[in-house]
Symmetry: C2
Subunit: 407 residues, 2 copies
């Protein structure tokens, strides 16, 4: 398959991808678009020309939620139709289709969804092992429950922001080893390399979604930076878990890559031992081979500081969703569930400064020789992600956020 739009084959946004997002051009309202190469396809224009079906004005809303609420049969049909229209050469002279293409550099991207509920998992064995080794016991790094269930917690939905929006260093209670707590800017600001999936509307409260049904309830995926203030978190988190050490912000990439676009990159996950309970068993390929990269720009140079892969997940997305709903918890169109930090086997695959600098004992050296234990004001942190196989590329673009001083 090849698009008649020039230069999109090697792009993250190839004709095989076609992710959904919310864009605006100068002075215009927010609209739904699909990325293709260096362009955004304005879906409302394609619908106006009668080439795709628009339900309930979903293409001129400020978020994707109304579109997602229409369900997978509809969202999938729109993507497939766009794929046909922009790859079939018989449409290459269609004025409406050409006019619907807006250069990416002319648009501003916005939050793709109003995040209805946000959950963060803790599903990378390497990450949980690293954290357990640092803060507990390297010989018994994983807590007893970790291999029996995908540990997770509810997070803050309101402070999830889109790539390009800066954050301020958070303030909070910090506890010196030798005295009472003080209030001030976090000294241990960190990123966490994660991916998140966005859901369709689920079943009524009380019912569960099985691992076999999970794919039907997932719209797509994005990159997710789970900003963390390690010092705030350390003091507050017992006994009820992370709170203000996380809730000041999380950043996401603006394009939601559909689960259908990721189909060719599925692969087998790690064998789970001990055997999991029946409701967590699954068949088929539920891990996905997505290369993930982290860059730190200290204003002098942009250094790649880590590379990992979504395939490292011990608990896959289907198990996460089955676990989340096994108690009857309902899900909504536009819920977001993040993976937890995705670390791989070696130091260069670690997904946080905490692990890369091993609690600050082994600083990360940037390309200009500058060193970092944690993040400094002025640093820009970006993450990229893409899947590639047999000449087919499906990418996520990036999530990029600059750290400004505390207010």
């Amino acid at each position: 398959m090849k698009s008649w739009v020039d230069g999109c084959e090697q792009s993250d946004f190839s004709i095989y991808n076609l992710p959904f997002g919310i864009f605006s051009t100068e002075g215009s309202k927010k609209k739904v678009g699909i990325a293709l190469g260096d362009y955004v396809i304005d879906l409302s224009k394609v619908a106006e020309a009668g080439l795709i079906e628009e339900k309930q004005n979903v293409f001129t809303r400020a978020v994707l939620n109304p579109f997602i609420e229409e369900g997978k049969t509809y969202t999938k049909s729109i993507r497939e139709k766009i794929q046909t229209l922009y790859s079939d050469n018989s449409f290459s002279d269609n004025t409406s289709l050409k006019e619907a293409l807006i250069p990416l550099k002319k648009v501003q991207m916005h939050m793709p969804v109003e995040v209805k509920n946000y959950t963060d998992f803790y599903s990378s064995k390497e990450h949980a092992t690293n954290v357990g080794s640092m803060f507990r016991d390297p010989e018994n790094a994983l807590l007893e429950n970790w291999k029996h269930l995908p540990v997770g917690y509810h997070g803050r939905a309101s402070s999830i922001i889109v790539s390009g929006k800066n954050i301020h260093r958070p303030k909070g209670q910090l506890k010196p080893a030798d005295g009472p707590p003080v209030f001030g800017p976090s000294k241990l600001l960190d990123f966490e390399l994660e991916m998140a999936f966005i859901t369709f509307k689920g079943k009524p409260l009380g019912q569960s979604i099985s691992t076999a049904e999970a794919d039907d309830y997932i719209f797509g995926f994005c990159l997710f930076n789970d900003w963390s203030a390690r010092d705030i978190q350390k003091w507050e988190y017992v006994p009820l878990g992370p709170f203000l050490g996380k809730s000041f912000a999380s950043s996401i990439s603006p394009w939601i890559v559909t689960i259908e676009a990721l189909e060719p990159f599925r692969m087998k996950g790690e064998t789970q031992e001990p055997e999991v309970l029946d409701y967590l068993k699954y068949t088929g390929l539920k891990n996905i081979d997505i290369t993930l990269e982290v860059f730190l720009d200290n204003t002098n140079c942009n250094s790649k500081i880590a590379s990992s892969n979504y395939k490292y997940m011990y608990w896959n997305y289907a198990q996460q969703l089955a676990h989340h709903t096994c108690n009857g918890c309902n899900i909504m169109a536009g819920d977001m569930m993040a993976s937890g930090t995705i670390s791989g086997p070696n130091r260069e695959n670690y997904g946080s400064m905490l692990e890369l600098s091993w609690k600050g004992t082994n600083p990360v050296v940037l390309e200009d020789g500058d060193q970092r234990k944690f993040l400094q004001d002025g640093d820009t942190l970006s993450m990229k992600g893409y899947a590639e196989k047999d000449g087919v590329r499906v990418g996520f673009g990036e999530v990029k956020t600059k750290v400004l001083p505390a207010l």
Copy 2:
């Protein structure tokens, strides 16, 4: 002040109260109402008659969020105007005002707000001490951070339901002492007696709300039953906090009592020792004297099993909101923040079965002699709340939920 509507003086919904809710009558759409005595005032009817100002059709929406989004100046003016209209005898013959009154028994109540983000605190010293004594050490029941900050965690918004809706006993992973985890219905189902406040839209991400500003950002309060499956919670909660042991459901009372209506019942809170950090200091009266009662109906009799009071909060609502936003976390119109279980000094004041039965060692005896360590299928749990002083009564009605067997 006295209403010309008969029989509302001794009601929870006196002319001094005027709480907001969402109601429907048979075959009609959801609308915004105010409770007065045995009636609901249909605000859209009062607005149609030109007696109050309706902005953006807020009175015919399915949730209070659009109304709350208009801000406190507006919401407060509507309540004050209704108070005048229904207390001033010169309006007692007004046909529109009389026609706007619908008997409470003819309406169905619905979720008053779409809960945008839900946070649960842990702010009763008696409750935290009881739990710490049972599971850790009676000599050091409170963890080191507890008296320095209002411990809290993010909860699940999607599964918050209104009084009258039944729940199914949740299923989940349970860990027997002598073997691997099993999957099945919770055996230790519990309630938690709480109150919650609902917020107005806050400041932009990165900014904080002080204790002095807190009242300006609070719309009102409701009763809150934070359903808990103790066995699921116990196995899952390390290290990231409660998750599926809570997210299967929380129940709320349908009427939101405004913070203005609670003004006469303010009182001094417990002296906080050690002294709190500056951002948690406050002036004025930030505790509220609200009597709370819990009833358990085992289908044979309805027994009062506990009575407590919102005045027992160690961390008050203003401190909770200031703490929640001290890291720059933003709040939205329709966020809900619950108090945590409100226990008082003596056994009869404990706000959960866990405490009342002291981990199942001291069963609660019902009026017919039946005993309960935790809740059984078929039990109906209800909570009531009211403030009363100098002949003025402001009540919350009730939150009532029946436990059905696991699906």
